[in-house]
Symmetry: C2
Subunit: 421 residues, 2 copies
């Protein structure tokens, strides 16, 4: 165990929220309270953006109900950002803020871009001789972070999608006696993890149950094959439930969706429309009724149908980040490791931030069936433990009661900083 | 009390399913078992279509777990249809099938088109001197049936939508610091009941909470006003959650959505695309990020977030239909009546089928605020009791366990009948 480092900690959230990102925040706060060497427990509002502009809140001053409520409240309670630290001035400012508030522990919950940011902050602190321990907390519904078995947020999104698809399948089955194509578009920019997860909706006693066809960004899309796939399913089942990841590409590597494709701050295209595109293709080429559903942001916020296993692991990842930092670790991200035993066991470990930054974990090809539109047993074996248990959201007067942090501001100690836009 | 009528009963389901249509089916079956004058309890598959083609199943032969499971299983367990009885031959055939199977009680769960069908069957039986008691069971997420205070199915759809919107609002709030427009398209062909119901997502302590703008089919859409509405909300809140009913029309009475508009068997247009249309308008005219969500059929199948009050009332409506028929009533539909007392009490009564058939109940104008895009207290007072309580769906191995009826076929007694197509 390394020497005790006394000072304050700061936790922030980044990127697109998940159903359980606040559970990780609760894990960090809860664990930080256990350690005397951590004095103030600060939250940075809107990720690095709030650090740059010194928007810091006192998390220890929140009520215990609020910290408990984080375990079932969607969205990012501290706010996130997609702002990218873009200049030496930005990085120097972060360090300046950390110094001013004696931040010695920095916990950053986010995906690969965010871990890249954390890595750079950590390296700069080392270079400047400022003792700072930086630990990343994995977070993304996309499940595309390398080194970790899976990411908090993924289990909940696929539980919600699979539940919805099983319900839609009941609905469609009841409409019977006429051909119907139902396309469900789900998130997933560059990897098909989310779309693949829809396979859990299948009734294991009925191989003909929905979803019938899953189109993954990993498998180049062919219009002709799609039409044949749908025709084949309709002949047998009278209805065809298609799941498509928003990042579907054709053989030339172009997105199939025809939507406007503006890029975000990290240069990613903003996708949407793949579902409507496949709906149209089916209707035009097969003369059948076709409908589309786009769950959009609802899927990453649906705590009312979140996985308890996922929520617990997110909490555990937050705790583990604090424990690791206290033990002297820095410049690492918490990863989830699956035990070797027969039953599912999830433990935490650490991996260097630099390994996670900007890596993308694709679906293993060997988990996709030869038909290219369905998942095999290996995938199900991997994914099923991640959706176990149901988060119990308190309802009052018919509606879920989510909490809102008080966000009591810490005093500003530095001159105003203007963000580059 | 009229003379006891001995014979068999037949229950069928029609039109688009709801989260609680099977709860009404459970109510019919459960109540029918209590009455000795009802001998066989039959289900007709796929509404009148299955009656015409003599696809009749023995519901008394189902397990009790299955009948109980109907209370939390989405879709129409017996199947529905949108087939319209279109000739004297069709109507004569229905009567022929009823006679062959000694059907003396006919319960039909459906919306206004279906109640119209039930009415015509009832009148034909009277004309032909065949003693038949016909009682409709109200069913539609659209809540647009006249004479009844509300319809089973409505409470659940608005509970799910409001929950989803509250969650999406958490997600959007957490994205902070940049303008975002989120459009959520919901069902509702000719009345804005469903879109209006989204107002329940509002946090009563925060008038600025989502949904910010609700576009109803009752209020002609103006592009200019929409853009100003969104601009105003963005200025104040930094994000704007828009709810739009699929049946939104402009001042000339044309649907604003640009989707293909094929008509169904009843001549209704198939809508979709209003949400994407409003999203595009905001993005193009305000230079802000805008996203859309289309919940589609998921919203009418989401039993995992259904209202217990709604499910209980659906069950009660099924029971009431049987009780009324036993008591000698015919050619009526069960309606839900709100008690006059302070607290919410829901009772059943009866109204003539002919009154319900083809009537449409619009949102009272006085429940819409002057701004045309929000609902006032009268609406909330009306709708809030309908979403109370949460249906508990049994989950197993991480997924909801819905039941499937065995559908044991009754013997066919008549020659084959060919449907007109």
């Amino acid at each position: 165990m390394s020497e005790e480092l006394h000072g304050n900690c700061l936790v922030a959230q980044s990127g697109g929220p998940t159903s359980v990102i606040n559970s990780s925040l609760a894990g960090v706060v809860t664990e930080a309270l256990n350690h005397e060497c951590i004095e103030e427990i600060y939250g940075g509002l809107n990720g690095v953006q709030g650090i740059l502009t010194e928007q810091i809140v006192d998390l220890a001053a929140e009520t215990q109900q609020n910290i408990r409520g984080l375990r079932y409240t969607p969205g990012a309670a501290l706010g996130t950002c997609r702002y990218k630290l873009r200049s030496d001035a930005d990085f120097d400012r972060v360090l300046e803020v950390f110094k001013a508030h004696n931040i010695r522990y920095f916990f950053y919950a986010g995906g690969n871009d965010s871990q890249d940011t954390a890595d750079k902050i950590s390296k700069l602190a080392q270079k400047k001789g400022y003792e700072l321990r930086v630990i990343g907390v994995p977070k993304t519904i996309d499940n595309d972070l390398v080194t970790t078995d899976h990411t908090p947020g993924y289990g909940s999104v696929i539980k919600y999608i699979s539940t919805s698809i099983r319900e839609i399948a009941c609905d469609n089955a009841g409409m019977g006696q006429h051909d119907l194509v139902q396309v469900v578009e789900v998130m997933g920019r560059s990897a098909g993890w989310i779309a693949a997860g829809a396979t859990l909706a299948k009734n294991k006693d009925n191989p003909g149950s929905a979803p019938h066809l899953i189109y993954l960004p990993e498998v180049p899309f062919s219009k002709e094959k799609y039409i044949e796939d749908v025709r084949r399913v309709l002949q047998k089942e009278k209805f065809c439930l298609v799941v498509v990841g928003e990042g579907l590409i054709d053989a030339e590597g172009n997105y199939v969706s025809t939507d406007s494709q503006t890029a975000d701050a990290f240069g990613h295209s903003q996708l949407g429309g793949a579902g409507e595109f496949l709906r149209g293709l089916a209707e035009e080429n097969l003369s059948v009724k076709a409908r589309s559903i786009k769950l959009g942001m609802a899927q990453r916020a649906a705590v009312h149908c979140a996985s308890q296993a996922d929520s617990d692991e997110a909490f555990m990842a937050g705790q583990a980040a604090v424990k690791a930092a206290i033990a002297g670790e820095t410049d690492k991200m918490v990863i989830l490791v699956r035990g070797e035993s027969e039953g599912y066991v999830c433990e935490t470990a650490l991996a260097p931030l630099s390994e996670i930054a900007n890596g993308v974990k694709l679906l293993p090809e060997s988990w996709i069936n030869e038909d290219g539109v369905s998942m095999n047993y290996n995938f199900t074996k991997y994914a099923l433990p991640l959706i176990q248990g149901e988060v119990q959201v308190p309802f009052e007067n018919g509606m879920p009661q989510y909490i809102e942090l008080k966000k009591i501001r810490a005093e500003r100690l530095l001159p105003t900083y203007t963000l580059e836009t």
